[in-house]
């Protein structure tokens, strides 16, 4: 796979990092950015604590003068440089996303941002509108949609292989909060912050949005209604750790979403099963290189990346390695960075973008995720079916 960025621009894209000084997701973003060699990581605000940010920047090899104390400072300084950043990657706590995204967009920078995009629907809508108005590239890192076999599933649904979609069932079943970890203050990260302005539901924001996005992405449908049961299952917990939803989708399809981070002993458990009038598809993130396809007549196929030539172009595009060598989470995440790079390169160079690269989650997906959170919380309170449409 040729490096379009180097070919067209004669250089790598210059990326500014926002957040990621500690925790799980910073290294994931940075490795993803490096994996396909489209980016130079050259500036950053790695922490809202300036000292910690500088230490983190140094540890990853950023020049000290390009480690900034604030997003505003970074944007100002970088815009003034001839070799200033082209884009920012945002991996802060959720509550800081909106300000960072808006600042970057207003400064004409392309943005790749972790999910959920904001903490309120209104903020998400503002971002969506700004992206549209500016024409800048915006990518939301719903990384699971970037696995080759997930793209294959979407392509198969789109091609009518399973017929009209009738059922969508998604789960995300983790176990790392199965005890009252937050009793120990050092575990009480921003995720346990329930002050006004933070994400309304920990579990729906963190993993519910992923399960929902996966179902929406593969099916090509929009979630319309939910009946939800969201709450804590661990005694003493004040945030939620469990969400189960009955769902309705835009074509009338029914389904369920079950997400939890408190299923003791579970590891990851992201999975989706979709059934149509002609057959069904099943995918598990823990075995990402396999997609099950079953048909009405009892036929069951396991699609893998071995099927060169027989896979959808979107799936081939998302895979780097052949003949059964397993690809994983980091490669899927990197697909988003690569596709984001392709889109930004096309914008900068004025040349067309490979359409296969444009299939990444964007601001509308962000709005839909926020609507899911809102509707799930509301439905739980009311005990009623609740509208979940993004109303666009």
């Amino acid at each position: 796979m040729s490096n379009t960025t180097l070919q067209r621009l004669g250089r790598r894209l210059r990326l500014g990092l926002i957040g990621g000084s500690h925790g799980f997701i910073g290294p994931v973003h940075r490795t993803a950015a490096r994996l396909d060699d489209r980016f130079e990581l050259c500036a950053g605000v790695l922490s809202s604590d300036a000292e910690r940010g500088l230490a983190a920047a140094t540890a990853i090899g950023l020049p000290a003068e390009r480690s900034y104390a604030t997003v505003e400072a970074m944007i100002a300084a970088e815009k003034a440089r001839p070799d200033g950043i082209d884009a920012v990657a945002i991996m802060t706590p959720n509550v800081q996303h909106h300000a960072a995204v808006m600042a970057a967009l207003r400064a004409g920078l392309h943005v790749i941002c972790d999910k959920p995009v904001t903490t309120t629907v209104a903020d998400a809508v503002e971002i969506m509108n700004t992206v549209e108005a500016t024409g800048l590239v915006f990518c939301l890192t719903h990384c699971y949609a970037a696995y080759p076999m997930v793209k294959q599933a979407r392509a198969m649904v789109e091609a009518g292989v399973i017929g009209e979609v009738r059922q969508i069932h998604a789960t995300y079943v983790q176990g790392y909060f199965a005890t009252l970890v937050e009793a120990d203050e050092k575990n009480r990260t921003w995720r346990f912050d329930t002050r006004p302005g933070t994400t309304e539901s920990l579990v729906i924001g963190d993993i519910g949005t992923h399960a929902h996005h996966l179902g929406a992405y593969i099916s090509g449908l929009e979630l319309t209604q939910v009946m939800a049961d969201v709450g804590p299952t661990v005694p003493g917990r004040t945030v939620d750790d469990y969400g189960a939803l009955l769902t309705r989708w835009s074509n009338g399809a029914r389904g369920t979403i079950w997400v939890t981070n408190s299923a003791a002993g579970s590891e990851h458990g992201l999975a989706v099963r979709i059934f149509g009038s002609q057959g069904g598809l099943e995918w598990h993130q823990e075995y990402p290189n396999e997609l099950k396809h079953r048909r009405l007549d009892g036929f069951e196929q396991t699609l893998t990346r071995r099927l060169h030539g027989a896979l959808a172009p979107a799936a081939e595009w998302a895979s780097r390695i052949e003949i059964g060598h397993p690809e994983g989470y980091q490669e899927a995440f990197a697909n988003l960075y690569r596709d984001f790079a392709e889109a930004v390169t096309a914008r900068i160079s004025g040349q067309p973008c490979n359409p296969l690269a444009l299939d990444f989650p964007g601001a509308l997906d962000g709005v839909r995720g926020l609507r899911l959170i809102e509707a799930a919380v509301q439905s739980t309170k009311s005990g009623q079916w609740t509208d979940a449409r993004a109303e666009v």
Copy 2:
């Protein structure tokens, strides 16, 4: 495993068959009854159509004179014989269960009956009360609870291995009604009969009760509340083929039940996952000889019948074959017949019963299944959480 019936009675138990002239379940019952050699199948009313019943009886080797036209005729004639039947096995359409069970109980016959036990809660309660009043043995064929690894799961929960139960998720995902099969009149069996008096919900009655029973059996909890979405997913269908339920259990545990017979391409899909404060258990009927146990600390064990000595006595009791030879559905079903035989033998011989043999589903399980059906239908109509307790 010694044949207690032969030992204590010097003969096999004499069984009268009710129903089973055609369809899937008749041969399953009869094979189950033969497998452990505790029964002599010696009389029957194999069909409500007398001629068809006689043909079916002859085909399975019953003497013509003991093939009867009605349950009442069988009971009367058999009671008059010195070698008359000890018990009846009922495998008719649901709507006929209640009358057959009541007739048998009133005649002092022990009963093994397919599920759901009746079509109304009131009828189920009447049976439960009659069983209690008569002291006769009553077994309801929730066969999945008789798999060795399901018994192992129950024993582990009971022993506190996974701690306090917090989540219960059960699925039963089949595909044989994924098209409008009932458009063809020959497929329009009793299952599609929606006249008053028939089971209120096809899908909850047929498979929802199994999923529910499995969760209840393993957890030792009672279902208290459901929020249900039951209905058809296949255009043109007038019965339901899909049920998704949010659930609450007697200790406050939450969960879901998802059952359907219209997931195109699916085969069986009965599975249960239960999580407690210390770990979780997972079992799939398609791989029945394996039980997954995971703990808080990341430990994951696959229990199989190889674990002789380390398995619960209940699991050892339910298994016949060693060293990895797979056991299946027919063996599980036969476990119910064997345990029913042990209980009946104890009653007849006046000797004590092995307590391991007394762990089979009974009339209360029948009442609970009917309450599930009722609550799921009501909740779907009202869009409200609905009480599902058996109120015993």
Copy 3:
């Protein structure tokens, strides 16, 4: 599936049991005989110890007067009865097979016998010749060949689905002798008897013959040459517990056989993988209801019994239960008894036999198994490739 025996003869076949008073395999044979209701178990020599034999016979419900002290006594007495046995089932230690089989055949009784058929090639050949001369039915219980999905595999190879067979790899990896169990005298069963006349190799006789038969049955090929490494892996052991073989087959195909009962922690491990010019097949006894088919082009299919209509008739014939209910070892074993019954019924009634029922292992398979044992032992001694053909 209709009961041809009852239909044609108006009665069940009368079976005499030889062996099976203790150990694993006796109940397996008897359950298999009962499962499809073609047999009446009515006589037996359950042990070479007359007293123990009578006790065992009583425990399974045989009348005392038809429990005999010797095979000869049983044959004489039963031949004299109007309702005497039609056939015998032999489940003694290997060393007693030959005499029992020959006695039965000479008395005109049909025979179903456990494997290996004898302890020497010469004895196996004598049986084969006698079977041919008498025209009696002889079935050797290589039970794994009776699984529906194994029959499906054979049918697919025969139909050319995987093209010309090029590689055959079979394993049987158990663990129950992974320690020096025979140090304890009570574990020193006939299997550890190495006196002249006993089976030359414990591991090849016990499980090597199964792995070999499975490869031969599915491929339709004959084993021609082996290069073997057979011996003990547990210190202090005087019998063998490990055999690995490089193999050549009649069409030039290559392969391996690896069998052991001393792989600590292993359960069953019988599996076969066959590759041809167009694709490959894979089957594992621990998941017997699935057959993997992969093609040159990367296509991978999992065939299950759900594929009604699309499975080979031989596979449909071998399956009793539908829609994903798992079948296991006992059902496969019962298939041999049912097919044996069909063949005997045809012989007795003079009516034609369903050709699907005639596909069970016979005396030639027995000879081939003995040749495998002989060749593996010889090759190990000589360190040379050794001829393994049955030279028929």
Copy 4:
């Protein structure tokens, strides 16, 4: 995981690439080098064809002046630069390895090289001796040994968890040469070159060495003897595509190796099963994040990276991502580059190396691989057991 290279040297290591202009493995090496950000890819001889090499260098962003026509030219020029390369990465056809490695070592450059290390034992020994004499870092990319769960397996064997090793079975079963692909000239790559000086056996060199290394690495044993059957299975083929070996290991353990690239329909199929006196381990590259551990008593555990704290330090060291996110081949390959970087950094900085980083394959593994190839070919010719020790 902190970036020791940046910390200690204040810069990344400068890497020169040799080979990789086309084919599968070039991008794998380069991505691996980038993934953990220890290297700057700054020079290269990407092809033996200078023009093609320059084009390839440009495409991956190397400056034209550091794209060289020959290894010698690169070494000379880079040694003259103040910012010249520290090390080379060799990913040419096998036949070019020896010259490139020797030139680099003589120039004082550290080397990371693809396998098999050379085409003759003598050349491999020369490299081993030179590495020892120069004290330079040499890493051979047996990448599978760098998976976290393989490291876990080795640590468990070393800790005695499975007792004394008694059986080692490894397979590598691919299908991409299942047809006569070489009939088409464009597919006739260097792998089909059988001229003197090339690797003696395609299949043993390509994948047999991997299977062997995996067994040796996990068991900690040395292969001592083989009885081999190596040859082509596809009609018309002049190179080999199949190898099956009976093996003996340094402690007397027995085993098998089966490798093929002509198993039609197979994808990858690298797997290893090791049994000791107390239990067994099983690992499959297609599901790399799981390791099965079974014990004598029937206990079966699936170890995954979820087991933080309970995994061996070597396994923790080799894993980047948590809570069930799958890692794959590219991450394993990158582990070798990271560990190589750690070792080179330690050498350059004069500071100690984390011992966990020193567990990568080296020159002795290369010699052993060549001895395997030699012995397998010899044994096939002679039909005899053949010594396979590296005689060091």
